[in-house]
């Protein structure tokens, strides 16, 4: 190992960048700030690549480095350390790689915003915490990164906009995440209590660790509790039902932030955590099932809401929630490799989509409503082509990256011993909707006529008049990500990726799983394919491709061929009536009867009722209730000394009464 490329450099370099920019950035020129931030990230990426190569060449399942003791409390101790295995390697490469590209993009994107140095300082700060999160060698250090990324995300959402909605969005993100952290923290306490350590090595890997030795029957209680609590934490971070509310609101932040934090990296922390804890989840079938159910529900639910959104970034936000749901579904059927595979490809194409959306917003002068776009293809061809690639990828059309990972997930949901046909079916429907709303986005934005403000007749404000292509500094990352969105999935050809994470995954030993699941689980979890199931797999693959194409076709039909239709469909029952009356062709009728109610349902029931009222409402109600109690407590502070004395005397009497009662019993 060359001394120049120490693994600790990977997180420390962005930290240095953040500190330099944070402390001295005010005096730097914008170029200098950008150079500092980019250098830090680029070097971090280089070191990460070197480390990845070292890991792959070493042939070890994991490399671990200690940098001293952090906490030593009796027999419990926690070290500073870096744990590098195939899982954290992928995460590390994604974070540094995509992070670097987004840094490049931001240089141009944030050109005209105030607080340039602060932005890059926070961005680097985020990278630091994210890398701590993925490289930590124990849960506590992971928690440090976990909280840190939340904090950085909060800073980045809120700090650039002196407006209430941004402040509230930031607050909401923070508080919702605290709810999740609550679960995570208690899970950690339980781990300490039962196993006395938080180190991955000692806890999850070493063959004779207390956790791995636990027979499934006895471990079920404790591990299920730990797994469910971890799931609560993961739901907060990865925006799963019911804690997803903050993510769409988080779109108040600058677009590069959305791309980096709210699409590619931070929100995948929950998935990473579940995969990292696979030894726990695999031994807690109930928790695993909960992961799958929540993931499936979220993916479906968010996709239906995605159909109704008109704000380009919100579509992408709900799409992110939905894709994260996919990852959870995969993790929930114990297909951790598929989950991480999708995580990786998703990072490429979703970052690309966000950056493309940023480019669009930049190009049309800050407009985010897709209804006011259209026809942008001729103004910004680069953006169009790259975004089209990303859309094909997310829709799951071969040979783009998303196809391989999504197909893998659907196959695993179908065939894994923990899976079920229901998961597969819901996943398929979701895939259809994903394809539909993503192409809807493309068609609304790039095809047809430009519906935004016309070029200003008076000649002033020419910057915001005509849509224009973004500078090359913004397009370069788009192109690079576009390439990745195409080829990123090819590593999965021939099921190569499927076994990539095997060293990380702690299989439940045969006798344990036999006790747990009968002989059905005797086949190891991630080895689903046999010769005869190969044909089934191919069939399913064909189905999912067809479904994706179907979504594409429907979107094309509704938004290109008959652009007036959606308006009427959305108008609800009245529109439906007119449709029938107007004697449309039968396929249009078909579309109206099937799709119309679905859209209406998702708009009225899912979005306006469940999302806005129930889930959001619960959060708000809780806040209101807290305020009410607070008001009551406030009332007791009457300012009267004698009242206070009354409380003290009454309290004393209560304590005396209790003690005497207990003592003389």
């Amino acid at each position: 190992m060359t001394p120049l490329f120490q693994p600790w450099l990977i997180p420390i370099l962005p930290l240095l960048g953040a500190l330099i920019n944070g402390l001295f950035g005010k005096r730097f020129s914008k170029a200098a700030v950008a150079v500092v931030a980019l250098t830090a990230t680029a070097l971090s990426f280089v070191v990460a690549c070197v480390q990845a190569a070292i890991l792959l060449q070493s042939g070890h399942p994991a490399l671990e480095q200690y940098y001293g003791t952090w906490i030593q409390a009796g027999d419990f101790s926690v070290n500073f350390g870096i744990y590098l295995d195939h899982l954290s390697m992928i995460m590390m490469l994604v974070v540094t790689g995509v992070g670097f590209l987004i840094h490049i993009y931001s240089v141009a994107y944030m050109e005209h915003e105030g607080g340039y140095y602060r932005f890059f300082s926070y961005l680097n700060f985020f990278m630091f915490f994210m890398l701590v999160l993925v490289l930590a060698n124990n849960y506590l250090l992971m928690f440090v990164g976990w909280e840190g990324v939340g904090l950085a995300s909060y800073l980045l959402i809120g700090f650039f906009f002196l407006k209430d909605s941004a402040a509230n969005a930031g607050k909401k993100a923070f508080i919702t995440n605290r709810v999740g952290d609550f679960g995570f923290l208690i899970a950690l306490f339980l781990l300490i209590q039962h196993f006395g350590t938080l180190h991955y090595g000692a806890l999850l890997v070493v063959r004779d660790s207390a956790l791995l030795q636990m027979p499934v029957e006895t471990s079920a209680g404790v591990l299920t509790a730990i797994g469910l609590l971890m799931l609560v934490g993961a739901c907060g971070k990865s925006a799963q039902i019911p804690l997803y509310v903050w993510l769409p609101d988080a779109m108040e932040g600058p677009t590069p932030v959305s791309a980096l934090i709210h699409a590619a990296t931070m929100v995948t922390a929950g998935v990473y955590m579940v995969c990292r804890s696979n030894a726990i989840f695999s031994r807690a079938p109930i928790a695993l099932l909960a992961v799958a159910i929540i993931g499936t529900l979220t993916s479906f639910f968010a996709a239906t809401i995605g159909i109704t959104q008109t704000d380009i970034k919100r579509v992408l936000a709900y799409s992110t929630v939905s894709q994260l749901g996919y990852m959870f579904m995969a993790a929930g059927v114990a297909a951790y490799s598929a989950s991480v595979f999708h995580l990786m490809t998703h990072a490429f194409f979703k970052a690309l989509l966000f950056l493309g959306a940023g480019s669009v917003i930049h190009g049309v002068g800050g407009e985010q409503d897709m209804r006011k776009m259209g026809g942008l293809r001729k103004y910004m061809p680069w953006t169009f082509w790259t975004m089209l690639i990303a859309t094909l990828a997310i829709a799951g059309i071969p040979p783009f990256a998303g196809f391989f990972s999504k197909d893998e997930i659907l196959w695993q949901a179908f065939s894994s011993p923990h899976g079920s046909k229901i998961f597969w079916a819901v996943g398929l429907v979701t895939a259809f909707m994903t394809s539909f709303y993503m192409f809807r986005l493309i068609f609304l934005t790039f095809t047809g006529e430009y519906r935004g403000a016309k070029p200003d007749a008076h000649g002033h404000d020419d910057h915001h008049g005509t849509p224009h292509e973004s500078p090359w500094l913004m397009l370069a990352p788009l192109v690079l990500l576009g390439v990745l969105s195409v080829v990123g999935g090819w590593v999965g050809i021939g099921n190569r990726f499927e076994h990539f994470l095997d060293p990380v995954i702690q299989k439940v030993s045969v006798e344990q799983s036999a006790a747990q699941n009968g002989e059905a689980a005797a086949t190891p979890v991630s080895e689903g394919e046999g010769t005869e199931s190969k044909s089934t797999e191919n069939l399913l693959m064909a189905i999912s491709v067809l479904v994706a194409l179907g979504g594409l076709g429907l979107a094309w039909f509704l938004y290109v061929k008959r652009p007036e239709l959606p308006e009427q469909i959305a108008a609800g029952a009245g529109g439906l009536y007119r449709l029938v009356l107007n004697k449309y062709w039968i396929d249009e009728l078909y579309a109206a009867v099937l799709i119309g109610p679905l859209i209406a349902f998702s708009r009225v029931v899912l979005w306006q009722t469940v999302d806005q009222k129930v889930v959001d409402g619960t959060v708000n109600e809780a806040a209101v209730a807290a305020r009410d109690v607070s008001a009551v407590i406030r009332q007791q502070q009457s300012g009267l000394i004698r009242s206070y004395a009354g409380w003290v005397a009454a309290g004393a009497a209560a304590v005396v009464a209790y003690m005497v009662w207990m003592g003389t019993r």
């Binding site: 009332q635 009457s638 004698r642 005397a649």
Partner: protein, 100 residues
Amino acid sequence: MIPISYYLLLSAFLFACGVTGFLIKRNIITLFMSIELMLNGVNLSFIAFATRLQTLDGHIFVFFVMVVAAAEAAVGLAIIISVYRTRETLNVDRVNLLKL
């Protein structure tokens, strides 16, 4: 020959009178005097127990309580004067600028 409990009951009574006084009186100085009453009740307990235990530690304690009471009186009355200067009242219920 009377039981020690008699003294203790008297002391408890004095203490309770002090607490009651603190809760029902309005004048700040009277409130403060109620505290003195409570301390006197405590002192009686100390002496009674010292007699029962046949040790002098209780006596010493009472001595220290008196010193503390004296110190508290000096400071407390100064505080009362200070409040009176800013608020022109000795009614404890009117000293409620800070609340909620």
